[in-house]
């Protein structure tokens, strides 16, 4: 029987004080929704089971999304998917997560309960336990509702070794589905910009799809999730790291009409918009079809397509370059986004 979730109850400073209120908050919200054998050990540090052979990876991600709840997800499910995917992009199988909450005084406990429930459900669905966590409360005005940092550990199976340095001329560039859904879903709920759209965030855990990809096609050069900065940031980073030119085909880019429409309206480029359930895969061209088939067999990869090709190596001393063959047949550079995406005046 819950004692802290009274109607209208809010997070108080005492909930972060380490005393009885903290224990109740943890027991009645976090432990209840996250319940799993690792967390239930009740230690300060979770003792993981012996790991399968392979190299250990770890990754951490701080989530500060506004609004906290958006079509297709919320900060809780996002905090699980974000870190699961970061671990998975190393080709690793995620083993466990740690979660740290910074909650603002006055945040409704009912909202926290809902977010924790969603987070627990996402972790269970992914099969990755939240093994340990921490909670702090900051004074009103010193936070924005709730911030969640998640850290994940995982194991890369033996024989899997992906790195930007493996990118070579002629390789294919694949994406797992439509671009820009998450960013547009968030924008559509931002204050002052509410526009009616059925767009849902693509927030999803990709590790199962990735596990199959790396198991069946060992030649993948690199996997990345194009989150903040969108596909353009991810590919620019890779082109620079590998010192190559990459060419996208605009006609091949998967963008939902609603997302394209919202971007047109706001003067934004879907290539700069964040995704939370998509991956980019660069692989030898002869592996492209097999990988697309594996991705398409998973719901989160149903829209997988090839979008471009790795071109020649950049001349020594010059950085890599990302460009695009436009719809009408011209060629242009696809640049990083400078700063925040700002809508145009007219």
């Amino acid at each position: 029987m819950s004692t802290i979730l009274r109607p209208g109850a809010c997070v108080e400073m005492a909930h972060g004080g380490g005393g009885l209120a903290t224990t109740r908050l943890i027991r009645e919200i976090f432990a209840r929704h996250f319940a799993n054998p690792l967390l239930d050990q009740g230690h300060d540090a979770a003792r993981l089971d012996p790991l399968p052979p392979g190299r250990l990876v770890m990754s951490t991600d701080a989530h500060v999304v506004s609004p906290l709840e958006f079509p297709g997800g919320d900060i809780g499910s996002l905090a699980v998917h974000g870190t699961v995917n970061d671990v998975a992009m190393a080709g690793a199988w995620p083993v466990a997560l740690a979660a740290a909450f910074i909650i603002e005084e006055g945040f409704p406990l009912a909202d926290l309960d809902r977010i924790a429930a969603s987070m627990g459900a996402a972790a269970r669905a992914a099969g990755v336990p939240i093994a340990t966590g921490d909670t702090k409360v900051v004074e009103r005005g010193h936070g924005d509702g709730v911030f969640i940092t998640t850290t994940g550990v995982g194991v890369v199976p033996e024989g899997v070794n992906m790195a930007p340095a493996h990118i070579a001329p002629g390789m294919a560039i694949l994406v797992s589905g439509p671009l820009g859904d998450h960013g547009v879903a968030i924008l559509s709920r931002r204050q002052g910009l509410e526009f009616g759209t059925a767009i849902q965030s693509d927030s999803a855990a990709l590790h199962r799809m990735v596990a199959q990809m790396v198991a069946q096609v060992p030649g993948i050069a690199v996997l990345r999730d194009p989150t903040r900065g969108g596909l353009s940031a991810t590919l620019n980073e890779l082109a620079e790291a590998a010192g190559v030119t990459m060419t996208l085909e605009e006609a091949a880019l998967p963008v939902r009409p609603e997302v394209a429409g919202a971007c047109e309206m706001l003067g934004l480029d879907p290539l700069h918009i964040a995704n939370e359930g998509k991956l980019v895969c660069i692989c030898p061209p002869e592996e492209a079809e097999a990988l697309l088939a594996i991705m398409r067999a998973h719901p989160e990869g149903a829209g997988a397509v090839r979008v471009g090709t790795v071109g020649e190596r950049a001349a020594p001393g010059t950085p890599g370059l990302l460009r695009m063959q436009t719809l009408i047949g011209g060629m242009r550079v696809v640049d990083w986004l400078a700063g925040e995406p700002l809508p145009r005046i007219c």
């Binding site: 002052g192 047109e264 436009t326 011209g330 242009r332 550079v333 400078a338 007219c346």
Partner: protein, 386 residues
């Protein structure tokens, strides 16, 4: 995307490209100014230059509202936010524009000024309603496209008796700027740009109508084709301009007839006429002082005029030295002629206005053609050294 994808059709683009190549005479050049930053952006984003022969050149015009705003006016806006403690509401483009001392609205906001990005004047009104004890100033900026929205906000504020809302008016007019580009009175004639015609603005023309350009086209004998913002619109308009030039005509033609009418939006025009008056002259970055080229809030609405409500101090605002924005905005220089381009001045660290707005020509060159432009600059530098 209905009503958009039709205007990006690759096969039609190729057939327009063939028609342009066929009709453009090889023994001459065609220099067309796209007045509007939106066109500059479209030309680069779709690589339209790659689809027309080398002797058809696009000269990028001053139609980027953020780019032509003189630094002084931006400094004034920053003063409103910082010294007068108002909530300054502004369109997103303005946030990164550098003012004096490399300060911008973003840096001012970081230092504690209350500057809020809005998507429409309705949002600014909403902020005023929600904060009755604070003064809210909307940064009115833009050509005839955004001017009616500012007029509408002022009319709404008066209707509701909103006493804490005002507009800092920087709205400018398109036709006087076109005239100024053609006349360039203060410019050495050798430096004046040679133009064979204009690609007329899309959105501006929906408001002011095709008729707004007839006097200047008649007087200066330069062809004008009002063009839509999609790549096929631009290409078709180029073809129409080439035909006018080849046939010795100078007319206003309307390629964007699916939206633009002869009269324009009469209600919007009436609203602008009610709320605003013309300033005798206004300073444009790049063009200098242009007579009858900007609007001020009419005396009947003075209480909604931030320039009346607040005592804005006199100040000296100096443009960045060796920044070529002024010449680039007149179309006499190209971004590659600027020493700062791509080195000291990038979209991340913009020194000049043309690099700030995504509509600015420097930003377009940097974003879409950086490699070629920098290579051209290096070649020019080596040749100069030899």
């Amino acid at each position: 995307m209905k009503y958009v994808s039709e205007f990006r059709d690759p096969a039609l683009a190729q057939s327009l490209a063939r028609a342009i190549a066929r009709e453009a005479r090889p023994d001459r050049t065609y220099a067309f100014m796209e007045f509007c930053g939106g066109h500059t952006h479209a030309i680069f984003r779709y690589g339209v230059q790659d689809l027309v022969p080398g002797n058809v050149r696009f000269i990028h015009g001053p139609g980027c509202p953020v780019c032509v705003l003189p630094m002084r006016r931006l400094d004034d806006a920053l003063e409103l936010a910082e010294r007068h403690g108002v909530i300054l509401a502004t369109y997103g483009d303005m946030m990164r524009v550098p003012g004096s001392g490399r300060r911008s609205m973003l840096t001012a906001r970081g230092a504690g000024a209350d500057i809020r990005m809005v998507y429409s004047t309705l949002d600014a009104l909403e902020i005023a309603r929600a904060n009755p004890t604070r003064q809210v100033v909307f940064m009115g900026i833009g050509f005839e496209t955004t001017t009616p929205a500012s007029a509408m906000a002022i009319l709404a504020a008066r209707r509701e008796g909103l006493r804490n809302f005002s507009v800092f008016c920087n709205h400018v007019l398109t036709p006087p700027a076109m005239v100024h580009v053609l006349e360039a009175p203060d410019i050495d004639p050798a430096q004046a740009v040679r133009l064979d015609g204009f690609l007329g603005p899309s959105h501006v023309s929906t408001v002011i109508g095709a008729r707004a350009y007839r006097p200047l086209v008649a007087r200066y004998g330069k062809p004008m084709v009002i063009a839509g913002f999609e790549p096929l619109d631009v290409m078709q308009s180029v073809l129409m301009l080439i035909r006018q030039v080849n046939e010795g005509r100078a007319e206003v033609e309307n390629q964007y007839a699916r939206v633009v009418t002869e009269e324009g939006n009469l209600r919007a025009q009436a609203m602008m006429d009610e709320v605003f008056v013309l300033r005798d002259s206004f300073e444009w970055r790049g063009l200098g002082s242009v007579p009858l080229s900007a609007r001020a809030i009419a005396p009947a609405f003075a209480e909604f005029d931030a320039e009346t409500r607040f005592a804005i101090s006199e100040k000296q605002s100096r443009e960045t030295k060796s920044c070529e924005c002024p010449a680039i905005l007149r179309g006499v220089k190209s971004p590659k002629d600027c020493k700062l381009f791509g080195r000291a001045c990038t979209p991340e660290t913009p020194l000049g206005a043309c690099m700030v707005s995504s509509e600015g020509s420097c930003a377009a060159y940097y974003t879409y053609r950086r490699a070629e432009t920098m290579a051209q600059m290096d070649r020019a530098q080596m040749e100069a050294a030899e």
